[in-house]
């Protein structure tokens, strides 16, 4: 009798099935947790990118799908002086603007990290160019650079420094430097504030130790601040280069790529050919041609600036 009762109370143990094992499998669960993010990335990033690359191999025009034409669009671009001019302009624009933005941004960040009077207010003021909508600041620059009504020309004329108005946007090189300056003005706050955030994570004890070792201010910057800032520099400069390389609004409002395509960037040329000119295939080819440049800049940032092992959680050699 007792045995019978004990037999009944004994839980029925069965071998866990495949499904049971799967339910507690961490890898299986993690797939499900990652699925929404993956779906989002595939739908909104990978698919448009893939579609863009595919369109670049077709003769698609607005309103009708294209036939596959292989490398024809790229062959035409290879022999297209306006395209190569846009590549040159884009590289010049990106390299000059990024270097200056980094230099000025870093300088401002170091300055704002000091104990200055009205520090909080100064930091807020530095952000202003970044929070003004691009189109509005571009329109402001449009007036500043106007060939007839520029206040810069007017002031210089009134002070007797120049006799005639400066042709900011009508001369090829003036136009290039003018749009680069406008981009720098807009981009510096982003670099400065992000680097400032990085600077504030540097422990004061490191500076104290360096001071005890007899380091001067430059040596402290070179051997303490800069190495500790490199991870954030890598991130901020990657973003800065990407934003500059793909800039569109500023150029479109200021010059529309003129004069004589002197400020035509790959992004604006792609828009002009694809949307205004109706040649979607060719516009997509120009956009696709931007990918290698963008990849190269990302790789330089990550492998160049983040080569230290300790930054990736390992000890330095």
């Amino acid at each position: 009798m007792t045995d019978v009762a004990l037999d009944k109370a004994k839980p029925i143990l069965r071998e866990p099935g495949a499904w049971d094992r799967l339910k507690v499998n961490r890898n299986w669960l993690s797939i499900w947790f990652m699925l929404p993010a993956a779906a989002f990335l595939i739908l909104f990033l990978a698919y448009p990118l893939g579609l863009g690359v595919w369109i670049s191999f077709t003769d698609a025009r607005i309103g009708r799908g294209g036939e596959f034409v292989g490398l024809e669009n790229y062959e035409w671009l290879w022999d297209d002086s306006v395209f190569w001019l846009s590549v040159f302009n884009t590289l010049l624009y990106t390299i000059v603007a990024s270097i200056v933005k980094f230099a000025v941004g870093l300088y401002l960040a170091v300055l704002l990290n000091e104990n200055l009077p009205f520090k909080a207010m100064l930091r807020a003021v530095v952000l202003i160019p970044f929070i003004v909508p691009t189109v509005l600041s571009a329109i402001a620059f449009w007036w500043l650079y106007d060939s007839q009504f520029s206040i810069i020309s007017w002031s210089l004329r009134k002070t007797g420094l120049i006799a005639t108005n400066i042709d900011f946007l009508g001369d090829v090189w003036n136009a290039r430097w003018s749009v680069i300056f406008a981009n720098i003005w807009r981009g510096v706050p982003f670099v400065a504030i992000t680097l400032l955030a990085g600077l504030q994570t540097v422990s004061p004890s490191l500076y104290e130790a360096a001071t005890i070792d007899g380091a001067n201010r430059w040596q402290m910057f070179r051997h303490v601040t800069y190495p500790l800032l490199t991870p954030i520099i890598a991130v901020v400069m990657t973003f800065s280069v990407l934003f500059t390389f793909t800039d569109f609004q500023l150029i479109w409002v200021l010059t529309r790529g003129g004069p004589v395509n002197a400020t035509q960037l790959m992004a604006t040329l792609s828009y002009q050919r694809a949307i205004l000119g109706g040649h979607l295939g060719e516009g997509a080819a120009i956009s696709t041609a931007m990918i290698p440049f963008l990849l190269a800049s990302i790789l330089i940032s990550w492998f160049g600036l983040q080569r230290r092992k300790w930054q990736q959680g390992e000890s330095n050699d």
Binding site: R64, D79, T255, P259, Q272, G277, G278
Partner: protein
């Protein structure tokens, strides 16, 4: 009480209506009668959305809103109007054509419908009806409106691009009227600059004014970017002559025109910085509206573009066609609206409200009083008749639209005028670009 039949409407819709535009309740009565007799019956519960170019003259838009309200009251079809700068209509229309979602009607620029002719509703019945009723279409409007034998858009109006000049300064320079030939034009520009009253025309990426004058210049000297068979012919001695003329003219302009877009010459003229330019009538309208600028309005006039060596007018004016997209659920309502807009009782007051900024392309509307009430507007009456199309000798299809949108010719002129390229290189680059587009 008047009984409106198709016949009475046809009769009543002629020139007399120009002088006796209907307003208020009378307009509504007329609209209701029109809706009953019109060949196009809007679908049940139809609603339309239209994207149109943003007005330059407020009174034009006010009149257009009234016109649309009358249509809604008469037919029950609600029309939602959105407005974009005329350069931005094309990208939006293009995206709509590609995705099949967006406004039912687009009212844009030049050869917009030819960018996606297969996405436009066939409106041949509307165009034929209007053409027969109102004295026929001007030749360039037929080219813009038709793709093959089919009308893919209704050409609504033109915006003239003619010479605007200051009267006193011109007289002082020895010109009692604006030059009629290109040779005189150079002499005029020199004399005007010499006395400190230079002019200027846009050489930047200015879709309207920039393209307007450089196409005129090219054609005036016998140049053409393509021939009748759409074969690229830009690299020619005639083009070189046109380039040389433009460079000589550019030397006499105010500095900075290489950066000008469409707005620059307006503000420079109104600020007394320039004394001649090519433009619509908007400078004159703006000067008339502002008491501080009244003196400029009194001292300015308009003239046709000078005739070049080929001896006939070679002007290019902005054309505004309206098209209905094939994705619309209400094609009959679209057609009804297009026809309604163009009927004399609607069109005459509307075009009058535009104060000369817009010009009809149906011959019967020549007698609208807007052209004679102020003699300074009269030259704009003829722009539709004088206009060539953006395709030049070739077709007005998507290739011509791409060439003008891509600023191929404008950049050719700008690169030579600014000294960036010599004439041969500028033509070669443009030739290459055109071969790409016309391949």
């Amino acid at each position: 009480m008047t009984t409106f039949t198709r016949r009475t409407l046809v009769k009543g819709g002629t020139l007399a209506a120009a002088a006796s535009a209907l307003t208020g309740p009378a307009l509504l009565e007329w609209a209701k009668a029109w809706a009953q007799s019109a060949p196009w019956k809007p679908e049940k519960n139809a609603q339309l959305s239209m994207l149109r170019w943003k007005y330059f003259v407020q009174s034009e838009d006010d009149a257009f809103v009234k016109l649309i309200e009358a249509f809604t009251q008469a037919t029950g079809v609600k029309v939602n109007i959105s407005r974009e700068s005329y350069e931005d209509v094309q990208p939006k229309a293009s995206v709509t054509a590609n995705t099949g979602a967006g406004p039912d009607l687009f009212w844009g620029l030049y050869s917009l419908p030819h960018l996606f002719p297969q996405k436009c509703v066939d409106v041949s019945d509307v165009a034929d009806y209007l053409g027969k009723k109102y004295g026929g279409w001007v030749p360039s409007a037929v080219q813009y409106g038709k793709s093959g034998n089919k009308w893919i858009a209704v050409p609504v109006c033109y915006s003239g691009n003619l010479m605007n000049y200051r009267i006193e300064a011109s007289k002082k320079a020895g010109f009692s009227e604006f030059p009629k030939t290109t040779d005189e034009f150079i002499a005029y520009a020199k004399a005007m600059k010499a006395q400190g009253t230079p002019g200027g025309m846009a050489l930047g990426h200015a879709s309207g004014d920039g393209n307007g004058w450089i196409y005129w210049c090219l054609w005036a000297h016998g140049g053409n970017h393509v021939d009748k068979g759409d074969k690229v012919t830009i690299n020619s001695p005639e083009t070189e002559k046109a380039l040389n003329f433009a460079k000589a003219l550019y030397a006499e302009m105010i500095p900075g025109t290489a950066s000008w877009n469409d707005a620059f010459n307006n503000k420079a003229f109104l600020a007394n910085e320039i004394s001649w330019t090519n433009n619509g009538i908007s400078i004159y309208v703006a000067a008339n509206r502002d008491p501080n600028l009244k003196k400029i309005a009194e001292d300015m006039n308009h003239a046709y573009m000078p005739i070049g060596p080929i001896g006939k007018p070679t002007e290019l004016h902005l054309m505004y066609p309206v098209l209905a997209m094939t994705h619309t659920k209400f094609p009959q309502a679209c057609k009804a609206l297009m026809a309604f807009m163009m009927e004399s009782d609607q069109f005459n007051p509307w075009i009058g409200a535009a104060q000369g900024y817009l010009t009809h392309c149906l011959n019967a509307y020549d007698s609208n009083p807007v052209w004679t009430a102020d003699p300074k507007r009269t030259v704009y009456r003829d722009v539709a008749k004088r206009s060539l199309t953006a395709g030049g000798q070739g077709s007005v299809g998507e290739k011509a639209a791409a060439a003008i949108a891509d600023f191929v010719l404008l950049d050719m002129f700008a690169s030579y005028c600014t000294g960036r390229e010599d004439a041969k290189a500028a033509m070669r680059i443009a030739e290459r670009q055109l071969q790409r587009i016309y391949r």
